[in-house]
Symmetry: C2
Subunit: 359 residues, 2 copies
């Protein structure tokens, strides 16, 4: 793999903002989309940051994303809503839906919002964090293109179906953002670029057998034939049915509860059809929020301080790595692969705007 180039975060942010305005989004929507991408880049979730610009470009050009469309409420109660994304950009839809969940939680203690007819929404954790920044417990989940197989199946019937949960804590918020597949697609791509075989247990090929060749599995994923295993791998020996169950749960919360699309029916009829789920909970429902945060923070510290496994020096709780990467990248910049830089230059040309990033 070629060496990444360090780019200043303000310059990258400015580039993204300008690009999305050029695509036709208003300033506010462009800011929302940029914010989500930048959060991924700043947290070190590089697969979901600005390197995804090329994917979004394709989704916009193919008409999956309808630029300028806005989400609307299809069904609503004091503590819940179903939002129709109206094929708007996933980030725009999702910010709207989570804000609605937060508003309900502040008023009624809890807000649960499901979303249909949306698009790829970036990192799940961006939205759960919108809630935790307000002192609430935040949950975010989404289905996606079909790339994950059921336990004992070979046809992808679920998406990577991430679940993110953010809970206020000191000194570092609990920030849990995971795919319910054994790994994210990006991990296979990285191994492919490096030319390293995959371990048995990441994915299955079109013949229904374990696949260790990264190019082959990547093609499987792209062709929606074979795909990734759920967390727990291929068999019940390590809990494949557990990851499978969490993945089905995400399909229920997103595609089913929104009267939308399950992952096996995405990319049909010229629509992406991705669905989301957002939830915000006010800790006041259970007592004094300060006391709850203190107890939670104490427990997480006890976990971090507990005895280490042989050869290990540190136990990370969820959110620590992201926080440290953020602090590092504010200082040193964001590493962007040369290939992504080229894509960004080409996009600037297509959009008839300055590249504007010093490299």
């Amino acid at each position: 793999m070629e060496k990444a180039i360090l780019v200043k975060s303000e310059e990258l942010r400015d580039y993204c903002q300008r690009a999305f305005v050029k695509f036709g989004f208003d300033n506010e929507d462009a800011k929302t989309i940029t914010d989500v991408l930048m959060a991924a880049d700043m947290y070190g979730i590089d697969t979901h940051g600005s390197q995804r610009l090329e994917m979004y470009r394709q989704h916009i050009n193919k008409g999956f994303v309808k630029v300028g469309n806005k989400p609307s409420v299809a069904h609503e109660t004091g503590i819940s809503a179903v939002v129709d994304g109206n094929q708007a950009m996933g980030q725009v839809v999702s910010k709207y839906a989570m804000d609605l969940a937060i508003e309900k939680a502040k008023k009624s203690g809890v807000g649960m919002v499901t979303v249909r007819n949306s698009n790829h929404y970036g990192i799940a954790g961006y939205y759960s964090q919108l809630a935790s920044k307000e002192g609430l417990i935040g949950i975010s989940a989404t289905n996606s293109f079909r790339v994950v197989v059921p336990t004992f199946g070979k046809k992808p019937m679920m998406g990577t179906n991430p679940i993110a949960i953010s809970i206020p804590a000191e000194p570092t918020e609990f920030f849990f953002d995971i795919a319910t597949s054994v790994v994210a697609c990006g991990k296979v791509e990285v191994r492919n670029k490096k030319g390293i075989n995959l371990p048995v247990g990441w994915g299955i090929n079109e013949e229904g057998k374990d696949e260790v060749n990264p190019q082959h599995l990547f093609d499987n994923i792209m062709n929606r034939e074979g795909g990734l295993y759920p967390v727990g791998g291929s068999s019940q020996l390590f809990g494949s049915h557990k990851g499978f169950g969490f993945s089905l749960l995400v399909e229920f919360l997103t595609g089913v509860l929104s009267d939308g699309t399950t992952s096996n029916h995405t990319e049909e009829d010229g629509m992406m059809g991705i669905c989301h789920y957002f939830m915000a909970i006010d800790p006041n429902l259970f007592g004094d929020p300060k006391k709850i945060t203190k107890k939670w923070s104490t427990y997480l510290q006890e976990v971090r301080d507990s005895e280490k496994a042989y050869g290990q020096e540190r136990i990370y709780t969820h959110g620590e790595k992201e926080k440290e990467t953020y602090q590092e990248r504010i200082k040193s910049g964001i590493p962007i692969l040369p290939k992504t830089i080229e894509e960004m230059k080409s996009l600037a040309k297509e959009l008839n705007m300055e590249f504007g990033i010093n490299i």
Copy 2:
């Protein structure tokens, strides 16, 4: 391992009911406890059925369980509550708490109830199913004795921390009931009895190294030194941090939100201190429940009908195995190990009652 003996379910139910009455529980509490144990036995979750009588006997005799105590509400809103278990039997506390969550969900759309100062509550899925039997979505989780290590840790800081989710579906309800550890403790015990080594990735010993000897790991678990890995195993390669995160989430929902005890502080001060979380959601919050159930059932059927991996003949969705085992055991009886039969005979003697099971 010795061959199990088939026992008629009515006889086993009658035995349990009589035993718990002899322990001093009133008829209603004895029925609740018996119901939970029988559900496990009928569903084939044998580790959590009547073979646990010996453990409950010990917990009662040690004073962890206060026979006759009843749970009480410590904090309450229209959609939430914190229940104090007052060291009553876990099943009694949990039936009470889930019933409260169901009542709130029927009235206000959702009910979230956390519980502190309780005891071992049996299978998590019994309680989530109380909700789904009423057409609601049910969630149940509990922390437990400390037996699971953090990713990169060797000291058990979490319990096996099961999560159960029940969602109405045709022809078979979605019934998801899993430990967030890679396997349940019972699986190590079974391998030990059979004399088969464990696969690398189930557990870690007191030196912080992978342990494959089942007796050694079982001792580690009993001594709370070393223990089981989270789902995903020992490293991030297969997603250990994912299981770890779900396990921490359970600690938050149970021990923290109830102002109770996290698993690393259970079994202190003569108390078990186990904490639970229960939630019920009315699908009416999101639209027509019949339409939701139909869409969910269709999707689950599509998953079951999808192409199989090489050498596999069937994809099970969660709840099918339990349903089939139930139907089988109604007809043929419940297999009980000779060792358990002996314990039950001895317990009958201790309680000065008839054994009353034909074997």
